[in-house]
Every structure is written in structure tokens, then in C-alpha cells.
Subunit: 353 residues, 2 copies
Amino acid sequence: MANPRSTTRAGRSTGAVTLQRVAEHAGVSIATASRVLHGGGSRTVGEELRRRVESAARELGYVSNAPAQALARSATSVVGLIVHDVADPYFAAIAAGAMRAARRQRLMIMIAATFRDPELEIEYVRSLRAQRARALLLAGSGTDDRSLTDRLAAELAGFREDGGRVACIGERGAGPAVPLDHAGGAARAATELWRLGHRRIGVVAGPAELLTVQQRLAGARQALAQLGGELPDSRVVFADFTRAGGREAALELLAREPGLTAVLALNDVMAAGVLAAVQDDLGRAVPGDVSVVGFDDVPFAVDLRPALTTVRLPLEEAGERAVQLVVEEAPADRPPLGVSLVVRDSTGPAPQR
Amino acid sequence: MANPRSTTRAGRSTGAVTLQRVAEHAGVSIATASRVLHGGGSRTVGEELRRRVESAARELGYVSNAPAQALARSATSVVGLIVHDVADPYFAAIAAGAMRAARRQRLMIMIAATFRDPELEIEYVRSLRAQRARALLLAGSGTDDRSLTDRLAAELAGFREDGGRVACIGERGAGPAVPLDHAGGAARAATELWRLGHRRIGVVAGPAELLTVQQRLAGARQALAQLGGELPDSRVVFADFTRAGGREAALELLAREPGLTAVLALNDVMAAGVLAAVQDDLGRAVPGDVSVVGFDDVPFAVDLRPALTTVRLPLEEAGERAVQLVVEEAPADRPPLGVSLVVRDSTGPAPQR
DNA sequence: ACGGTCATGGTAAGCGCTTTCCACGAGGTA
DNA sequence: TACCTCGTGGAAAGCGCTTACCATGACCGT
């Protein structure tokens, strides 16, 4: 006797409407009811009975019990999505793409925000494992902390063993991934700055332990090196991946090297902070005195003043692809998503000395 | 025989590790194992056995099966959140708040984006019903379409009958709600404009059928009337709740009534479009020629140029409260969330004629 | 007419848990 | 000593589905 049945206000015992009741109402076996209501794999049900079951279900207001189905089939239709922070436009875009795809696949997506706590991330993949999610989408880059990464990997391995699929958005070494060319994007941005005559470029980076920032940073550094320039450590400062972080970092950067003519912010929300620092706090002109370029091309980039030149990452499409990947709706060998530089008004020729 | 057991690559049949196996490994009954691993309601288990079970679980790498638990207890720990669009900062903020609270409650949140399709919304509450979600959070306002609203209400009633709780963010007439004072906020914005000397004010509104816009509009209208002013229909234009919508609406509005000295945008993302239209397309100064005020105070409002004066809605807190409400962590009679006007640079005295 | 195929309906054995009983021994009380 | 009450452990009956397997009858070819 696991559960007491619920009762209406009038006191008549009703219980929830179950397949059982639908079957009785329609005068068929519950096997038949199941087959018509939930598409009983390759079995057909006669016209007459099918109709009876369908109307019984409608009359009774039957709603299937997903947990019970999950238990019986040992498969669910939920996919988990783990992000750092839903309110960050970067992740919001990915989530939006994932939802769009999920809708097509009739999947439900369960989302978890780690608030950048790796510990919590591990805890969430465990929860999603318990939920028997059909797949797991990891957005948001990992860190370079070995022990954390290993524990995460173990949990993911377990998830896979239970038959779950996992996809990472942005490389992370864990399973099939939707690659995002962070390095290439950064290289493109640096190259553009170089082309404009900038020789003393600084970068405002996010948390140093994030793989994403390492990749972006490396991309910029390498491009500059190839061009004959350089990006000494003194010209990069790490801070939170937030507006405030960007602002503080920019202030510090410009204090350290007042001669910088351009700064590359490793994401758009930091870039907003940089713009504020340079223009409002320092009273310098953008792009007259210093050019700034962002990264991601989030929706509000165009509304910054000056409108932000930035590296566009097809985030929404990445989210979409990730779910396609785990439900193999799409061939695994699609061309990688391209990054591109969108030039707006925050960049200009380096000022003459 | 419902399910084939899974098999390792080596061919040894392993099966998933179930409570059953943990119990065997620990040499106890599965009842006992259940009690120690899942806190068997008010029953205590001896020190010794408890330890044995715990280490057995750890050694075997046991992960509980949420669907099975849900079936047995007929209760889950997932709460559904239905929004229009996760990428919209308004909803993203609500979602972030909800996630924060969910984490404290050890709940998982399942999110669904309707992309503003009421049909889809109904479909999603049905899915969430099937999932046996413990509660449902409806963010995003409803429409005034009677038939749609009724169908939604029916579905929600069913959800409640099954024991689910539902909370709306922003009034919607469906169950306990986290009220958001849309009208009051709009009134405050209008009043400020009036105080600055503006007498010919226009409003750029979202879709006319949304309750939210109706409330905001009504608030502004009433405040103006009270002040001795007016807001004729010719001065409000409806458009999509997007940047593009805001821009087009602003263009149309100013074409219709070139003498407007201020425009109130019914949300910040539309306000961004308005700013673009007024300054870039029309070449007029803000706030010199026309003042603009937004609504919501999304994070990027401060980065718009000029920085946007807007009505602040405590969205994140609203999301948090909504989940507290459905899990009754908090008393139901907390003071309502306050709205406030944050004055920045996009508003100024009405220009002298 | 007979064995063989199909198409279609039902039976019942699970899926992995939770929880109600029941059993049993230890201590307390009268 | 007889009778209770606790504190603990286990047996087993579900929870609401899915699906292998069996039964039945119709239809076919020979």
C-alpha cells in the first residue's frame, strides 16, 4: 500500500485517472489502452477499440504518468542542460537554442545553474543522472583544476554507462562536442586590431582557470605573435566574467600600461564594463583614443555606445546542435560552426602618436 | 520482462546498480537500504547497518532512480517553469532567481519556452503535468484571449487536482501569485516625465493582447489623467516585445506625432530600439529633444547610451519567491515586491518650445 | 481439409522504489 | 511473572506503466 488515494471534496474516492481506469472505461485491457495511447511499438490496434480508448481517455481527462513510463521503459524524454548562469546572455542564448530543438524532438529540458561553482556542477550531473535524463548538455567551460575535472569526468562516465549521452558546448574533452572556435575568434579579433595599426593591445580576460578564457587568450596571443607583435603578461588582466569585472580590469590595465591603444575583452559583458571604464571613468574616447572589441556578440552588443565590434559566436545554433547531437537527429559530421568578426563602431585606426 | 539488462563491453551482465544490489552487498533488506539512503520517514536504522549500507552504496556507485522514487512516493522534486523566451533578459532574470531558490530546496527545475505561442504553453503545462512536477511557475503574462485562457485554466485545474501547486509571476488569476506592480511602475514613470515638464508623451507598447502590457499601459494612462494630462490612443503604438519592435514603433510614433517630447517604452529591450530610432534614425538628441524611459531595469539598461531611466522590477527576487511560494518555505503574507524608478540619463526636462 | 501466416487482443511479469505491517527482543512497570 | 511499549529489521504489496508471450480467428495456398 504505497499511496493513499486522493479524494474529492465530496468525499468520493476518485484516485487519479490511470491507464487502468481508461482501459476499464473503454472495456479493453490495459495493454491495448497503452498501445493506443502511447504508440505501442509496431503493434496496431483495431479501428473500433482505438476509437473507444481514445474517447475514454478524453472523457476521463487522462494524462500519462511520465515517471511510471520512465520506469517501465527505462528511458525518459528529458535532457539536462548545465550552465553557469541562465541570466548571462551567453548561456541564455545557448539555452534558447536548446529549447527550440527540444521542442521539435518533444523533449523536456531540465536546466541547472551552477553559479560557477564546480562542486555544484558535479552535484547537478549526479541529480540529472538520478533523473535518468536521456542526455546531458554541458555548456560553460570547465576549469583546469585537475581534481575537480576528474571527479566530473567520473560522474559523466557513470552517466554514460547508464546509457545517457553527453555533449559539451565548446570543447571540454568529455564526449561528442559542439566545437566553438574560441581561439580562432580571438585570433580574428587580434588580427583586425593589428590591421588597424594597433601595436599595443591589452586584454581583459575572465577567470584564468576557465578553459574558454585560456583558449581565447591563446588565440589572441598566437595571432599577435604571428603578426610580429606580442602580448606580454603585463597586458592581460583576469577578472570576473561580469560587467564589474570588465570595468575594474580595464582600469587596472590602463593604469599599468597607459599607452595601450586597444583592448580586447574576452566577452561582451566585460566589454560593456570596459567601455564604461574607458569612457566614463577615464574620459577617453572610443575608438578615438582606444579601440575595444568584445566577444560573443550577445544581443545588446549593438546597443552599446559605441556599438561594439565583437566576435560572433553562433550560440543559439550551438545549443540547437547539441541537442540534435545527443538525439542523433543529425549526422555527426556537420561542418563546424563558424565564428566571424562583426565590425561596428568601437574599433578604429590606432591614434597617431 | 520489461527490460533487457545492459551489459559491459566485456560481456558480463552487470545491470544498473539498484537499491536491491546495494542491499545484497550490505547484507540487509532493501527496506533497510531504502531507509538509510533515502531517509525513511521517521524510522531509524542501527549504527552498524547504516554504515554497511552507506559503504556498499559508495562502493557500488549507487545512484538513486528518481522516476522509480517518484512512482513509489507519487511525488517528484521537479518544478516546472514556463517562460516565453529564456533569451529575453526579463525571463532570464526570473529563471535565475528560481534556480537559486531551487538549489536551496534541492529541487530541479524543468524549463519550457513557449516562444510566445499560447498553444505551446498549454501543451507544456500538460507535459509538466505528465512529469508530475511538484509545482508549476508561470512567468510571462497571459493574453486576453478568452478561449485560450480557459483551456489553460482547465489544464492548470487538472494539475492542481493532481496535487500540484501553481504560482504565477505577475498576476494572472491562476492561483497564488507573486504580484508585480506593473501599473504602479508605469504610473511612476509617467509621473516623473510629467514632473520634468513633458506634456506630450507617447508610449511604445508590446503586443496588445498581453495582460502585462495592458496593465502597464493602464497605469501610465491613469497617472497621466490624474495629473491633468492625457494619453490618447494615437500616442501609443503596439509592436513586438523586441528591439526591432521598439524601433519600428518609435519611428511610427514620432512620424504620427512629431511633437512628442518623451516616450515610455514598455520594456527595456524595446527601449533599446527606441533609443536607436530616435538617435540614429531620426538624429534627435536624448534627452535633449526627447526623453525615453524603459521598463524592467534589465542588466544592460545601464549600458545603453544615454543610460536608460527605467522602472525597476525585482525580477530575480520574484523568481525566488515563486518557488518559495509553491514549496511553502515562506509565509504567504510577505510584503509585495516593490517597484521603483531608477533615474539615469535618458530623461531630462522637456525642451522649451 | 489442413498446416501456416497474420493481425489483433489479453495476461502477467516486471521496472526500482516506498511504506505498511508484522516479528522479535530488550527494557520498564505493576 | 505477565503485560506493555519501544526500537529495529524484514516481507511484501503496491505505484502506473510496457512488452514478451500466448491465444484466437481469419485468411491462404496447396
